[in-house]
Subunit: 191 residues, 2 copies
Amino acid sequence: MSAISERRERERARRHQLIITAARDLAEAEGWEAVTTRRLAERVEYSQPVLYSHFDGKDAIVSAVALDGISELAAHLRRARQAAPGPAHALRAVCRAYLDFATERPVLYEAMFVLPTNLKFASAETPPPLRAAFGEFVSCFRPDNERRELFAEVLWSALHGIATLSRSGRIPPDGQEERLGLLITQIADTR
Amino acid sequence: MSAISERRERERARRHQLIITAARDLAEAEGWEAVTTRRLAERVEYSQPVLYSHFDGKDAIVSAVALDGISELAAHLRRARQAAPGPAHALRAVCRAYLDFATERPVLYEAMFVLPTNLKFASAETPPPLRAAFGEFVSCFRPDNERRELFAEVLWSALHGIATLSRSGRIPPDGQEERLGLLITQIADTR
DNA sequence: CAGGATGTCTAGCGTTGCTAGGGTGGAGTG
DNA sequence: CACTCCACCCTAGCAACGCTAGACATCCTG
């Protein structure tokens, strides 16, 4: 492997990331339906086929954006949990952080948890960021709770439902705080 | 209004419903991405523009299917609730019925609560079937519970999250029974 | 029976995701 | 230094998409 091919590999990796961030920027500016391979190619200043030399197709690009987003979410939840004054408050802090994330980055959230992606959840080859994010929910529950994972699944499901139903206007956009409060009180004591 | 124009109106209404059921059948057989205006037109044995004389566009057709589905869901939930041996058991019965519906008719469920539609939820002009379906959740809670609607929103959100996350493989497909059990126990006593 | 309205179809526009095939320029070799 | 070759990228195009304009036929009305 000569220095030249190494340089090319670096440039290629650079362009790979450029495509991902361009897709994300475009989606956050105009929504995922505006992210077409043509517009994306124009943004990165290459022709369409270049995209296909990096990704298997549009879904793979969305998946890459989603994975980045999940990493950010995991870090976001982690910060919230660690900033909480104690384990009892961590549950609420993490839940609020989750809903805030979904509200402030709705398009990113959509890629992560609504659109079809290639990401393998809950399996042997689940990428670390996914594990980390889910792990933050698990960490909200007592270590001696033998059903922590189950609690985490249901908690996550409830938050996801609240986020998506309010985002799509199927439940009123306001009232999130009350829903969060109710959810917490129903779970907190049996944490 | 002559008898002739009445007959035409009947035929037109008949064809209207034919389009809706054809769209639903096609979607349930091959998924919503297979429901194209061309294939749909072929199924109903009319040309594409005919679809547009009945509906404003593809979204409107999906919305019509969704509305039918919500009517069926409301009836399904209602039957489950009334068949329960008492109000205390109604909660579990309705929740199980909801998850069963989502599992057995995933494509219909997708149109109802995932895909973008024209349906107005939670507003003044909300269609009766939507109110009826949501009302079934409200009816699971004690009449003297002043926050019944809030409870219903959170319960629905949790069920919706469980249904969609498991459907898309983001939580394991099995374990639904345990999730349902946990959800019920967290809510039942403060019903 | 002519005239008009109603209804439906053919044809086509602009856009989509994706790909085949040609051309160019730099890397390696004699 | 010249030549070959290969890796890279672009132009051009395919089939399919949602949707629509305009021509054609069919039926009711005066």
